[in-house]
């Protein structure tokens, strides 16, 4: 790792001030993506601003509108174990419990995942399929406008993810095929029946990062069954292609996973 100055702010506002005062600042939360990145010398921030101790970023609650707000600093293990999340959106709790491994889930946070938008991360698919709202220190952004590409979001420099609000869906299902080495999704589909319609979000597979599959959504709106997807195919050109899986392999996988997520609403299916 290149040297940096470690800073521990007292509040979110203080963190933003410290970020702006630094030369080339970075926030750190669980650090389970950032620290490996720094070890590989793929980034060299001058100022490391630690968000992990901020109470404003901790906790899970139900909002007045009936949405579930998970604050950004909440670790995956706490989402997986939350009685509220398990009652209202059990598939979201199951998804959190499928991230990385036990020790990773003790450190990694939803805010870090959503801020980083790794193309194979789990949470972005849930935020997008559930029509979530990303709440930052300066605005509220609909998921459709928030994720903008591989590792890209609409966040401005220094903008902190305070939390994510999830509307409670009518039902949801998540099916993931894991890369055995990295434990990230080789491809995963989150299919939700929401009050605003059927939403299908795919992570790990599209070369645009987390992406909705419009053709699947349209077919499922008419007939919510696995068979409704039979005649549809994903274009391999739209997929990531790497030594773990070709575009054609991922295109096939996305369809299979989508079918299973439809057929198994209320469940989290993890294949490895």
């Amino acid at each position: 790792m290149y040297p940096f100055i470690y800073r521990r702010p007292a509040s979110v506002a203080d963190a933003v001030r410290q970020f702006e005062a630094g030369d080339d600042s970075s926030y750190i939360s669980g650090g389970h993506t950032l620290l490996p990145t720094l070890k590989a010398r793929l980034a060299a921030p001058t100022d490391m601003i630690d968000l992990t101790a901020l109470p404003e970023l901790k906790g899970i609650e139900e909002t007045d509108e009936g949405r579930i707000l998970i604050r950004g600093g909440t670790v995956h293990a706490d989402v997986a174990a939350s009685a509220l999340v398990r009652e209202k959106i059990p598939v979201l709790a199951g998804l959190a419990g499928s991230i990385g491994d036990r020790h990773v889930r003790h450190r990694g946070t939803i805010g870090g995942s959503v801020a980083n938008n790794d193309p194979a991360a789990d949470y972005p698919s849930a935020v997008l399929a559930l029509d979530g709202i990303v709440v930052t220190d300066r605005r509220r952004v609909a998921a459709d406008d928030y994720f903008t590409g591989l590792y890209e979001t609409c966040r401005e420099p220094g903008e902190i993810v305070i939390g994510v609000e999830f509307p409670v869906p009518l039902s949801a299902g998540y099916a993931k095929f894991r890369n055995l080495a990295s434990r990230y999704a080789l491809a995963a589909c989150f299919v939700a029946r929401t009050t605003s319609g059927i939403r299908v979000a795919v992570t790990g597979a599209y070369n645009t990062g987390v992406t909705r599959t419009a053709a699947f959504e349209a077919a499922l709106a008419g007939d919510f069954s696995a068979e409704a997807l039979d005649a549809l195919d994903i274009d391999p050109e739209d997929m990531l292609s790497d030594p773990a899986a070709t575009g054609a392999y991922r295109a096939n996988l996305v369809k299979i996973l989508a079918r299973r997520a439809v057929a198994h609403q209320g469940e989290v299916l993890i294949y490895k």
């Binding site: 470690y6 620290l35 490391m48 491994d101 036990r102 020790h103 450190r107 080495a181």
Partner: protein
């Protein structure tokens, strides 16, 4: 340089280290507690597993500064009053190791698992929960056996 202070195995410690020091390096280099191993340094293998306020974490992926003011337990702190922890005893009984390199991490992970697990624990669950600890020798069979044995013994003691 920053001063980082914490409780390690029940003792208050404080060292001046570079800001970017990882917790595992703080333990190994600054404190000389070399029982915590570095296997992969990429958050995969779990050899560096410690307890941070009682919860398992991979210490190669935590900054030392992030543990400021917190309580860390390493493999050196697991035995109490000269008596092995039930997980250490079970690893010895079941021969849950071969070369031993991953063993500190396996034992720390297993100890945290059985302390926090609610309800019955079966082999399948142990294998799932121990996914973050890799062993290149044993095929895991005796590791899983040891964890189940320690869980059963600890449960029997609590119930008695």
């Amino acid at each position: 340089m920053i001063t980082v202070s914490m409780m390690v195995n029940g003792d208050a410690v404080s060292r001046d280290v570079e800001d970017e020091t990882l917790l595992v390096d703080y333990l190994r280099e600054a404190l000389g507690l070399t029982g915590t191993h570095v296997g992969c340094d990429t958050t995969q293998c779990g050899c560096c597993t410690i307890h941070l306020d009682g919860i398992s974490a991979k210490s190669c992926t935590v900054l030392a500064a992030q543990a400021e003011g917190r309580a860390v337990t390493t493999i050196e702190g697991l035995a109490q009053d000269g008596k092995l922890h039930p997980m250490q005893e079970a690893f010895r009984d079941c021969h849950g190791l071969q070369c031993g390199f991953c063993t500190p991490g396996q034992i720390m992970a297993g100890a945290e698992l059985i302390r926090t697990w609610e309800g019955p624990l079966d082999e399948h669950q142990v294998r799932d929960e121990m996914e973050g600890n890799l062993c290149r020798c044993t095929g895991y069979h005796n590791i899983v056996k040891a964890i189940l044995q320690a869980h059963a013994e600890t449960r029997a003691t609590v119930d008695a």
